[in-house]
Symmetry: C2
Subunit: 403 residues, 2 copies
């Protein structure tokens, strides 16, 4: 499922970008991206929950802790994961290297890596990448940066919103990498969101947390996260208008909606980019006792290989959904289940509505995007997950992608 990237978004005040080839990937492909703020920016970051977190994540956590970041440095081609102490030393060296080039403190650098696991990094091509990237920094470099982050991605991903915040126009722009897989979280997800709004640290934290929940966590099914997942938000305060606190006021809400939209669009682009995926499917679970149960059930369905292969075949195989839901560890009454595929009522009171309904559902499922809504009862629980179908090319890709 290829999509044409939208037109490159306009510059965001206070930020420069670049994306270059330093030699970490072969054949001249871009492998190093920079996002640099003119001054230290108010920032927030969230990281993978994986117990085998990579070396750059360790250092990034430290550097992000004080809520001030000036440069996000991303290399593709090598995840610097499973590289032990040597890997960590490399990251500290690389922050110093970029810091000295930019004349900023190394602790203002947020390092991210993505690529193969278990291979040591090399200083020579990395130093070349840093040098080229610093030289190439530009207000219009966003597309190049998005491209340089890519690994198995088929296309670069960005999203932009202009938000009216109390009469002033504020920009929110994100770039990301990550291709939806069976457990989408298993492909490293990196996202950098920049805004020219003037934010307090608490506001930045809340905006990122809610954006991640509305976006990336809806495709990161099954709780799986890669060794390197990172999402970071930087605010330059260059837009007109006053400081935005997380007071829940109108300005904050407008900005929050913009950040959430950017995150959701980036997340949908990741699902579309799923290796071999041909369809994007939204799984909505409603009527459970609480949101947590709905999350679990939607996750179980969105992550079920049998459900996803049925999507590939446009097969309204509701039995597989019932089975997957039954494994979610949530109490449910199959006799109360209803399933709708877009607006076709396929299952009611736990049984198939009719053969005609099945035929209609099959028709809907031949589209490249549809929604499956499962109603489990009259509870107030609700959750929504975005997943893709599972096709043979996915498996081919993943058995041939070599370590």
């Amino acid at each position: 499922m290829k999509v044409d990237p939208a037109a490159v978004p306009p510059p965001v005040r206070g930020f420069r970008f670049s994306g270059v080839h330093g030699g970490l990937k072969p054949k001249g492909r871009r492998d190093f991206a920079l996002v640099v703020a003119d001054r230290p920016a108010v920032s927030a970051a969230v990281f993978t929950q994986n117990a085998s977190a990579a070396a750059p994540v360790k250092v990034a956590r430290e550097n992000a802790a004080d809520g001030r970041i000036q440069a996000v440095m991303i290399n593709s081609g090598n995840a610097n994961a499973g590289t032990g102490e040597k890997g960590e030393k490399f990251v500290r060296w690389s922050c110093r290297e970029l810091g000295s080039r930019l004349a900023i403190d190394p602790s203002l650098v947020l390092p991210c890596s993505t690529g193969v696991i278990g291979v040591q990094m090399e200083r020579t091509p990395f130093a070349r990448a840093v040098s080229l990237a610093v030289d190439g920094l530009s207000r219009k470099g966003l597309a190049a940066a998005a491209r340089a982050m890519m690994t198995s991605d088929a296309f670069p991903k960005w999203s932009h919103r202009e938000v009216d915040v109390g009469g002033a126009t504020v920009n929110v722009c994100g770039i990301a990498k990550g291709a939806g897989m069976i457990h989408p979280g298993m492909a490293t997800m990196l996202a950098v969101i920049v805004t020219d709004a003037d934010l307090t640290r608490e506001a930045a934290k809340t905006l990122l947390r809610d954006g991640v929940a509305a976006g990336f966590n809806r495709v990161s099914v099954g709780g799986d996260t890669s060794t390197n997942d990172t999402a970071v938000l930087l605010a330059s305060a260059e837009a007109p208008g006053g400081r935005i606190d997380e007071d829940g006021g109108r300005e904050f809400k407008a900005l929050a909606a913009g950040v959430a939209e950017v995150c959701e669009e980036l997340a949908r682009l990741m699902v579309r980019d799923g290796e071999g995926a041909t369809k994007m499917v939204e799984i909505v679970a409603v009527g459970t006792a609480d949101n947590e149960s709905a999350e679990k059930v939607a996750d179980a369905i969105a992550t079920s290989v049998l459900v996803k292969t049925a999507f590939a075949g446009a097969d309204p195989n509701w039995g597989r959904m019932l089975m997957a839901a039954g494994n979610a560890g949530v109490k449910l009454d199959p006799a109360k289940l209803a399933i709708d595929v877009d607006d076709v009522a396929l299952v009611k009171d736990g049984v198939l509505v009719s053969d005609e309904a099945r035929r209609m559902a099959r028709k809907v499922m031949r589209q490249d995007s549809f929604t499956v809504t499962l109603t489990f009862g009259k509870g107030r629980g609700r959750a929504s997950k975005i997943t893709s179908d599972l096709t043979e090319p996915y498996v081919r890709f993943n058995s041939q992608y070599t370590s």
Copy 2:
């Protein structure tokens, strides 16, 4: 991965079997199996944990509760799951139907179904199946019964052990259906173990519980269970020798080993029969804090689609294993990880041993069976899971298998 079934095992005293075509499956394929004891047998049964358990499981739980079963009735072609009250009424009718044919109480019947979910059963072909199967009961009907249980299975599965119990020869024999899938538990697993030993109810319970742990639960990764999973043990007491109590004595231990071996062999046959699977891989996790952590980590690796596709490509992609282990929800130190592929030391202290080690591991992984041992530290935890590779034919099969 086709295997030739072993020679049909000898009869087990006190049991008759049959497997017939009643009309639930098309084209004259066997679709109904019976295992009948000459007298009510001491029995134990375990069932799926799936919250969407099928109608026959509901009734089987009731009938098995008193530890006495005389007939196990299995139909393939229709799981009678997601069929609501109508499905349950059908099961109760079917137990009465078989009971009257065998002149036994319907509560002595253990009903099992496997096949498509969400389709109502029909009485006419089922009654015909019951009638033909009762007429066909024979001491030598075990192979026919094993064949009649099959759904997506490529071959029938049975296993037999003669056990010397205090000088007397006791038989343990099992038949099963189930083909290992990505989440193997998602394909319904049915197993009937018969023995001519003389068991107390408590002994039967313990033998089955331990057998299931040693066998079926080692392939049922990720905690997933289908709507219909059932394993049952029947003891006819027709062998010479006294009653065997669960006193942990020598007789009990000998019999327990026999039951565990039968369960493990049946489980391995299921993995071999995985749709499109070409390899059987044992995942051993050791050195964790406790067995529970080892179970979680081994499960996470055995169930990882990325790990399983790497197995298909004979790719020693230890990074994927590290990532999968990191998602198991267990605290672990990647810097202490060691990975062996059979006797090749691939990873030590969290890093690749050498390119030569990788080359050697790749060679081992080209075999159709190998063991991956992950050592996480010096803890006493240990667990072992059996899994298969994931190939393109699997996905083809599951997108074309229609609901």
